[in-house]
């Protein structure tokens, strides 16, 4: 393919354009120094004037780096940052991510009938929540979780992508003609009331439902339509729960009663239904946290298995280590 015009990225050979948007271009490329392994290159242009690298860029990249330093299994790897040419007033930065072929959206599309089994759903949910918990621990709110930016590797590992810098640029996307999906937005985001960690749990709840049915649970086409679709299912909240100082008054929505989630998801297990109810809670303060969700009875069975596996693994490594001289602490 074309030769890369950016110095600093010679190590990567582009093979295809994955996407373009207001934020820049994303390429699939080969990492020539690592046996031609595929990577995703995200090009970002930064305005650099008299004051050098802008504060916001420094902070955002530092944040991505900080998250990366923990190498969480459910977050996409940031492999490298290339500092490209410095033109008059612009610096080109290239973020090099691991490349994962498939996102959750395609994964669900390709999944043959009758859809995912309950064990597979539970596994995906556990990985998804682990990734979200990790972000929240670091005070990062993804704010745009949806099947399109959740990656699924060929061996079934779930990885969150497009947080940090990408999100910043997605604001610009909202200003352009690119359509931004509302389907996973929480009521408080739609009402423009608050943007804390619970907004991600709402999105995870929507995705949880979608894993069962393979179609989005709330398919609105405007902010108000989206809220109405939500209230059709969870019912209209009581007046006390309505956030203060939002432009849409409580009275502008017709009162409705909640419908049981089983009617939408006929095959849902009772424990899964209980967790979903707690995720799709109107009041963000009462919504379940990622940490609580991971301790929910829905997962307990799986965790017990994990513990047993870990115990088995550690006892095995103990026997192996007995024969090695360990350095004195």
């Amino acid at each position: 393919m074309e030769t890369d015009p950016d110095p600093g990225t010679e190590q990567y050979e582009k093979v295809a354009k994955i996407g373009t948007g207001a934020y820049g271009t994303v390429y699939k490329a080969r990492d020539l120094k690592n046996g031609g392994e595929f990577v995703a290159l995200k090009r970002v242009r930064v305005q650099t004037g008299e004051e050098g690298m802008p504060m916001s860029t420094i902070r955002e990249i530092a944040l991505l780096r900080q998250l990366e330093s923990f190498e969480h299994p459910n977050v996409v790897r940031l492999l490298d940052i290339c500092h490209g040419t410095v033109a008059e007033k612009e610096t080109k930065l290239t973020l090099v991510f691991e490349h994962v072929d498939q996102d959750l959206h395609t994964y669900l599309e390709k999944c043959p009938a009758p859809g995912l089994g309950p064990d597979r759903i539970k596994d995906i949910m556990h990985q998804l929540l682990s990734g979200v918990e990790f972000l929240h621990m670091h005070r990062v709110v993804h704010r745009d979780l949806k099947p399109q930016n959740i990656l699924v590797t060929s061996n079934g590992q779930v990885k969150l992508a497009d947080f940090g810098l990408a999100r910043h640029y997605s604001f610009q996307m909202a200003l352009t003609s690119v359509v931004v999906t509302l389907w996973y937005r929480s009521p408080e985001v739609l009402l423009q009331a608050s943007y804390a960690t619970p907004v991600d749990i709402w999105s995870v709840g929507c995705i949880f439902a979608e894993l069962h049915t393979r179609k989005a649970i709330f398919q609105g086409n405007s902010d108000i339509d989206q809220l109405n679709k939500i209230f059709d299912v969870i019912g209209t909240p009581c007046k006390e729960e309505w956030p203060e100082e939002v432009s849409l008054p409580w009275s502008s929505f017709q009162p409705r009663l909640a419908i049981p989630l089983e009617s939408l998801l006929p095959e849902v297990e009772p424990l899964a239904k209980d967790m979903l109810d707690k995720m799709l809670c109107f009041n963000p303060h009462r919504r379940i946290t990622a940490k609580e969700a991971l301790q929910h009875a829905y997962f307990v069975g799986e965790e017990a298995v994990q513990e047993r596996l870990q115990e088995a693994a550690s006892s095995r490594s103990l026997t192996e280590n007995t024969f090695e001289t360990s350095p004195e602490k």
Binding site: T48, M55, R59, A62, F70, H83, V86, M137, V140, V141
Partner: protein
């Protein structure tokens, strides 16, 4: 005492210092290094302790930067702290001057002292976090890049420029930073060039667990009184200049500073691990030097005034 005092042509200044002070200059050398001059703003560490503990990622980021940071979520305070602790070894340079042909621990000490004074004299005063991050940036850069002595002050200035962008609500502007250095010594272009170089070299790893971060967490969540934590802060800020002390792990240093301060203020010592004990021994030397020039009650008052007001 003031930036100008050390901000001469670094090479000449450093050499003349060493020449006149000789080998055993510890006492008189330390007297001014460890003095209680007006210190960094204590900001709101203690006045607003209920609201939020101070993190290396300050709250202003939420307002100020488009980075998607949420307010500190109390659900995750402990986990967050443990993760930072598990990460500290990655960003703590040990023996950073080993490969420097020209720069010695004494010169590093002078640079850090200059940075400390700059942080106090700039208005508004800079956060302690900014100072600690700047020193960390200097050390990590020196650990991998041999630097000429004539560039040492520029490195300090660049590190402060970057650290302020990470930590402060109002970052320093390039012109201000250049003006802090020796007159006519460096240009804004050089500052921006070195900034680029430093960012590339450190790979934008700028959220690092420094000792002040651990101290603020422990002070906000432990059973320490204000006097103790103020003295501990002062101990940490002062020992930043000491190359030997900076070899200790930041979290151990923070705990040691609190322990030592607590033993002085309340006559209480807690049992700690050997790593912390070693820190305490080193910090004791710093503390003794402080108390040589200022009796303990006056020292405590001075610390309290600096860090609690």
């Amino acid at each position: 005492m003031f930036p100008s005092a050390i901000a001469m042509k670094p090479a000449l200044k450093f050499q003349s210092r060493r020449g006149s002070d000789g080998e055993t200059s510890d006492s008189d050398h330390c007297e001014d290094i460890y003095d209680v001059s007006p210190m960094l703003g204590c900001t709101d560490a203690l006045t607003s302790e209920a609201a939020a503990p101070k993190w290396s990622v300050p709250d202003q980021m939420v307002v100020d930067s488009p980075a998607p940071l949420a307010p500190a979520d109390p659900t995750y305070l402990d986990e967050w702290f443990l993760m930072m602790k598990s990460n500290e070894v990655k960003f703590h340079p040990v023996q950073s001057l080993n490969n420097q042909p020209q720069i010695t621990p004494e010169m590093r000490g002078l640079l850090v002292r200059w940075l400390t004074q700059v942080c106090q004299t700039v208005r508004p005063r800079l956060l302690p976090e900014t100072l600690f991050l700047a020193v960390n940036i200097v050390d990590r850069f020196l650990a991998v890049t041999p630097l000429g002595l004539d560039c040492l002050q520029l490195l300090g200035a660049t590190a402060l420029f970057i650290a302020a962008k990470m930590e402060e609500v109002h970052p320093l502007c390039a012109e201000e930073v250049v003006a802090m250095c020796d007159e006519g010594q460096y240009t804004r272009g050089q500052l921006r060039m070195l900034e680029r170089r430093v960012l590339s070299t450190l790979g934008f790893h700028l959220t690092v667990p420094t000792s002040i971060l651990f101290l603020e967490h422990l002070a906000a969540h432990g059973q320490y009184d204000q006097l103790t934590s103020c003295l501990a802060r002062h101990l940490l800020v002062t020992s930043l200049q000491d190359y030997v002390i900076c070899q200790h792990a930041p979290s151990s240093l923070a705990l040691a500073a609190l322990n030592l301060a607590s033993s002085l203020v309340n006559n209480m010592r807690m049992n700690t691990c050997p790593a912390v004990e070693r820190c305490i021994l080193d910090l004791q030397v710093v503390l003794m030097t402080m108390m040589d020039s200022l009796p303990l009650p006056d020292l405590l008052v001075a610390c309290y005034q600096q860090y609690c007001q």
